[in-house]
C-alpha cells in the first residue's frame, strides 16, 4: 500500500506523537473539568524505582507575585499535550499551598532539567538541556535526555528559527538529527540534598559496573566535591575500590578525610596489598596506624610488613598475594585448588613451590601444569631453575632480572630464602617508566640551560 519512504514517514509521524519534550509541557496552562484556568504546569514528580521513571504527580503553579502550588495525581489528568493540560476534577478540589517541597520525590524540573548527571555510557559528566518523554497509557516516562545545542535552543525558543537557517545551508546537517539524545538507562542523576547529604534516588547502580575502572576514576574527578563524596558513599564496595584505586593521591587523601574509617578499611582489605600499602604510605603515620588497628590482624600484619620496606625496593613493590604449594602436592590437587580460589588480582601465571616453612624451592607455570601428568607431584613440573630477587633489591635490579629471564612475575625472598611475595611486570614497568621520565626531564632541563 505504501512506498518505503511513505511508510518510514508514517512511522516517524507516529513516533513524533508518542514522544514529547518536557520543554513543550513546561508552563503550559492547566484547565479543570469545567474549562476554567487553574494555573500552569510547573513540575512533574516521577516514581524513581523503575529503569524508566514514570510520571506520578503533577505540580501546578499559580499566581505571579505570591506563588502557590498544588499537587495533582496523574490519574486525575484527562489529557495532556503540547498545548494544555485538562484535569478530570474541578478547581475547588485542589488545595494550593505556598510550598510544594517533597524531599523524597524526584521531579523533572528541580532535579533533572539543567542539572549535572553522569552519562554512564560515554563516561562523562553532562548537563541536561531537555528531557524526552514517552507517552505510554496516559502517563509519561523519561526516555531520553537531550544535551545538544538544539535542546538548548529549544528551551530558549529559537529552535525553529535556527532549524530553518540550518536547513537553508545544509538539509542533512548532523545538527538536525536527534543524535544527542541519551537513553535514560545510561543516566545517573546526582541531585544531592545538602542537609542529609544523600542522593535522592538510589537507582540500582548496575551501570557503574560496566565502566572500566580508569574511566570511573576520571568521571569521579570530574564531579564537584560535594557530589564526589555523596556518590562515593552511595556506591557498593566493589565500585568504591575501583574508584579509589584510580584517582590521584590528593583526591584519595580528601576522601579518606571525609569517609568513615571503617569503610576505608573495607576498601583497603579488598584491593591488592601493594596498592593498599601505596595508599597507607602517603598518609601521616598516626592515620595509617589507626587504619591498621581497625583491620583484621592477618591483613594488618601483612600490610605493616610491606609498609616497612622502602617503596623503591623489591620489598616495597611486591604483592603478598601469590600461589604457592608444598613441593609434594599432586598436580591434580593443585589445578583443582587454583580453579576454586578467588583472586583479588589476576595472578601472574606462575605457581611457586615451597617447603613446609615457605622456603622457595622452584616455580612452574600454568601451562606446564596443564601439560604434566595429573598424578605426579608438582615438583616434577618445575622449571629447571628459578631466579628470584631479595627484599632489598633495587628497582633497577628487579627490572634487569625480569627482562633477562623473560619473567612476567618474579618471586621475592628474604635473607633466609623464605618466599615473601611477587613483583609483577606491570608493577615494575610503572616504576621504570617513572625513572625514565625523570631522566628525560633532567636531560631536557640540562640542554635548555
Amino acid at each position: 500500500m505504501f512506498g518505503k519512504q511513505e511508510r518510514q514517514d508514517l512511522v516517524n509521524e507516529n513516533a513524533k506523537k508518542m514522544f514529547i519534550y518536557f520543554s513543550a509541557l513546561m508552563d503550559r496552562p492547566v484547565i479543570d473539568s469545567k474549562g476554567e484556568l487553574v494555573g500552569e504546569l510547573y513540575d512533574v514528580m516521577v516514581k524513581p524505582s523503575e529503569v524508566y521513571p514514570q510520571s506520578a504527580q503533577m505540580i501546578i503553579r499559580t499566581g505571579f507575585f505570591s506563588r502557590r502550588y498544588a499537587v495533582v495525581d496523574w490519574a486525575d489528568i484527562q489529557e495532556i499535550d503540547g498545548k494544555e493540560v485538562t484535569l478530570k476534577t474541578d478547581k475547588t478540589k485542589l488545595s494550593f499551598k505556598e510550598k510544594h517541597n517533597n524531599k523524597e520525590a524526584l521531579t523533572l524540573r528541580r532535579d533533572i532539567l539543567d542539572q549535572q548527571v553522569v552519562d554512564t555510557y560515554n563516561h562523562k559528566v553532562i548537563r541536561i538541556n531537555d528531557i524526552h518523554l514517552l507517552e505510554v497509557d496516559q502517563s509519561l516516562m523519561i526516555a531520553h535526555v537531550d544535551i545538544s545545542l538544539r535542546g538548548l535552543l529549544r528551551r530558549l525558543g529559537f529552535e525553529k528559527v535556527v532549524d530553518f537557517l540550518v536547513r537553508l545551508i545544509n538539509d542533512k546537517a548532523p545538527y538536525l538529527e536527534n543524535e544527542h539524545l541519551i537513553t535514560w538507562k545510561n543516566i545517573q542523576p546526582l541531585s544531592v540534598n545538602p542537609v542529609s547529604m544523600t542522593i535522592k534516588i538510589n537507582v540500582p547502580q548496575k551501570q557503574f559496573n560496566n565502566i572500566p575502572a580508569a574511566d570511573l576514576g576520571e568521571i569521579f574527578l570530574d564531579l564537584d566535591m560535594q557530589h564526589q563524596s555523596v556518590l562515593f558513599k552511595s556506591l557498593d564496595l566493589k565500585n568504591k575500590a575501583k574508584i579509589f584505586m584510580n584517582i590521584d593521591a590528593k583526591a584519595q587523601k580528601s576522601l579518606i578525610e571525609e569517609v568513615d574509617p571503617k569503610e576505608i578499611v573495607d576498601i583497603l582489605n579488598s584491593i591488592p596489598s601493594d596498592e593498599a600499602t601505596d595508599i597507607l604510605e602517603q598518609l601521616p603515620k598516626d592515620t595509617s596506624e589507626r587504619f591498621l588497628s581497625l583491620m583484621e590482624s592477618k591483613q594488618a600484619k601483612k600490610l605493616s610488613q610491606l609498609l616497612g620496606y622502602s617503596s623503591d625496593s623489591a620489598g616495597g613493590l611486591m604483592v603478598a598475594e601469590y600461589i604457592s604449594f608444598p613441593k609434594d602436592t599432586v598436580i591434580e590437587t593443585v589445578l583443582k585448588q587454583i580453579k576454586e580460589r578467588t583472586f583479588k588480582v589476576e595472578p601472574a601465571q606462575f605457581v611457586y613451590i615451597v617447603d613446609e616453612v615457605n622456603h622457595l624451592i622452584g616455580s612452574t607455570s600454568f601451562r606446564r601444569l596443564l601439560l604434566a601428568q595429573p598424578q605426579e607431584p608438582i615438583q616434577n613440573a618445575a622449571f629447571p631453575k628459578t631466579y628470584c630477587v631479595h627484599l632489598d633489591s633495587s628497582v633497577k635490579e628487579v627490572a634487569y632480572r625480569m627482562e633477562k629471564y623473560k619473567y612476567n612475575a618474579i618471586p621475592v625472598v628474604d635473607e633466609n630464602n623464605v618466599l615473601q611475595g611477587i613483583i609483577t611486570v606491570d608493577d615494575i614497568l610503572s616504576q621504570v617508566i617513572a625513572i625514565a621520565w625523570r631522566r628525560l626531564k633532567k636531560i631536557k632541563t640540562k640542554t635548555t640551560l
Binding site: D114, Q115, Q116, I126, R127, I128, N129, I147, L152, R155, L156, G157, N193, P194, V195, D224, M225, Q226, H227, S254
Partner: protein, 413 residues
C-alpha cells in the same frame, strides 16, 4: 610556646596555599579603567574622595565573601547555580549581556596597554599584539596552578603605585584626616566622581570569576576561613593601592590645578612635578594592570558562559577537551586587541557601553546571589545570618542604586 609558633607557621602556610582567587579578583579591579577613574578623582578633587574607600572595602568584602562561600559549600560556579536554580532562559540572556560587557571591558584593557606602550616609548602595535599573544598562550598552555602563580606575581607589581605615592611626598597628616572624615559636597561633578569611584569597584565579572576560581582551586570547607581571609586581604590591598593612585595625582596635579581625561594624561602630567621615576613607575603600573586584566576578563567570560551552557570548563583542560571554553577566550582576546589597533577608534563610547552593560547586569547578578546564598537547599547551614543579610542587602541595594544612577547620569549628560 614552641607549639604555638609552629601552629602559627602552619596556618600561614595553609593560607599561602589557599590565597589567590580573592586577591586576584580584587586586584583586577585596579584595571585600566579603574586607574583612570582614580587618577581623575585625585587630580580633580584632591584628597576629598579618599574617605569613600572605607565603605568600598566593606562592600567588596561582603559581596565577594558570599561568592567564595557559595563556591566552597556547593562546589559550583555562579553561572552553574543560576542555571540550576533559575533556568536556562535567564542564564542565557545574562550571559549575552556579560559577554558584551566583558568584550568592551577587554577592549578598554587593550587600550590601556596601547597607552602605556606609548608612554614607555614602545611601538603600540608590537605591544598590543605581543601582550595578546602572551595572555592567550598563558591560559591555553598553562594549568590553573601555574596561571595563578603568574597572576599573584602580577599582583606584586601594583607596588609601583605605592612607591610612586611615596615619591610624590604627600602630607600624611592631611591624608589620614581626609580618609576618616567624610567630606560631602553637593555639586554635580563631585557626586559624579563619587559614583564613578564606587561604581568601578564592583562589576559582574568579579563574582563569576571569584566563584569559578575557588571552585577550580578545589578549596575545602574546613579551609574556608583562609579563603575568607584571602577576600579580606585582597579588598584591603586593592583599595590601599587605589588610595595611593589618588594621592599621587592629588599631590601633584590637583595642587597645580591640572585637568586630565585619562590615565595616560595623568602619567604625562606627573613628569614635571614628580620626576622621571614616578612617571615610569606610573606607566609601568598601568601596563601591568592592563595586561593582567586583559587576561582575567576573557577568562571570567569563558568560565561563566561555559558553566551556564553546560560546556566543559577549566584552565586545567586542553583545547581539545574544552573547545568552547578556549574558543570563547581566544575570540574575546582577538576582538579586544584588534579593535584597539584599528585606526581612528574612539575610546569614550567604548567605555560608556562597557559601563552601561555592567550597570545593567549588576543588579540581576547581585539579586541572584542573595537568593542563592540564602537558599537552604543549596547552602545548608551556611546561609547568611540575619545580621549579615542586613548588611548584604544594604550593600546590594546601594550598589544597584548607584549603578542605575550612574547609568542614568551618563546618558542624560
Amino acid at each position: 610556646m614552641i607549639k604555638k609558633i609552629k601552629k602559627f607557621w602552619a596556618e600561614i602556610l595553609i593560607f599561602l596555599s589557599i590565597m589567590g582567587p580573592g586577591m586576584i579578583t580584587a586586584n583586577v579591579d585596579n584595571d585600566a579603567g579603574g586607574i583612570t577613574t582614580y587618577s581623575v578623582a585625585g587630580a580633580h578633587f584632591g584628597y576629598s574622595l579618599i574617605w569613600s574607600f572605607i565603605p568600598i572595602i566593606i562592600a567588596l568584602v561582603i559581596i565577594q565573601e558570599m561568592c567564595s562561600r557559595m563556591a566552597v559549600v556547593t562546589g559550583k560556579g555562579l553561572a552553574d547555580l543560576i542555571r540550576e536554580e533559575f533556568g536556562v532562559k535567564v542564564t542565557f540572556y545574562a550571559m549575552v549581556v556579560l559577554i558584551l560587557s566583558n568584550i568592551f571591558n577587554t577592549i578598554s584593557e587593550f587600550a590601556g596597554i596601547a597607552a602605556s606602550a606609548e608612554l614607555l616609548g614602545i611601538n603600540k602595535y608590537l605591544m598590543v599584539s605581543g601582550s595578546a599573544l602572551f595572555v592567550w598562550w598563558l591560559i591555553v598552555k598553562g594549568t590553573y596552578k601555574s596561571v595563578e602563580k603568574v597572576f599573584l606575581f602580577a599582583c606584586l607589581f601594583y607596588v609601583c603605585y605605592v612607591v610612586s605615592g611615596f615619591l610624590s611626598k604627600p602630607d600624611w597628616n592631611e591624608v589620614f584626616a581626609s580618609s576618616i572624615k567624610p567630606e560631602f559636597r553637593f555639586d554635580k561633578a563631585y557626586l559624579f566622581m563619587l559614583m564613578g569611584v564606587i561604581g568601578t569597584t564592583i562589576a559582574p565579572w568579579m563574582q563569576f570569576y571569584q566563584q569559578a576560581s575557588v571552585v577550580e582551586k578545589d578549596i575545602k570547607l574546613k579551609n574556608y576561613k583562609y579563603s575568607k581571609l584571602d577576600v579580606v586581604v585582597g579588598a584591603f590591598m586593592v583599595n590601599i593601592i587605589a588610595v595611593f593612585i589618588v594621592i599621587v595625582c592629588a599631590n601633584t596635579l590637583f595642587r597645580h590645578g591640572i585637568r586630565i581625561e585619562t590615565a595616560k594624561d595623568a602619567a604625562l602630567a606627573l613628569k614635571p612635578f614628580a620626576g622621571q621615576h614616578c612617571f615610569y613607575l606610573f606607566a609601568f603600573g598601568l601596563l601591568n594592570a592592563s595586561i593582567f586584566s586583559a587576561c582575567i576578563l576573557p577568562l571570567s567570560t569563558a568560565y561563566s558562559v561555559c558553566e551556564g551552557m553546560g560546556w566543559e570548563v577549566g584552565v586545567n583542560r586542553r583545547f581539545r577537551e574544552a573547545p568552547q571554553f578556549y574558543s570563547l577566550y581566544t575570540a574575546i582576546i582577538i576582538i579586544g586587541a584588534a579593535v584597539i589597533l584599528l585606526p581612528g577608534v574612539k575610546l569614550i563610547p567604548i567605555m560608556l557601553i562597557s559601563q552601561a552593560t555592567n550597570g545593567l547586569l549588576l543588579p540581576f547578578v547581585l539579586i541572584f546571589m542573595l537568593l542563592l546564598v540564602n537558599n537552604k537547599r543549596l547552602m545548608g547551614k551556611y546561609t547568611n545570618s540575619k545580621v549579615y543579610n542586613f548588611f548584604a542587602i544594604g550593600t546590594v541595594v546601594a550598589m544597584v542604586g548607584l549603578s542605575i544612577a550612574l547609568l542614568v547620569a551618563q546618558f542624560t549628560q
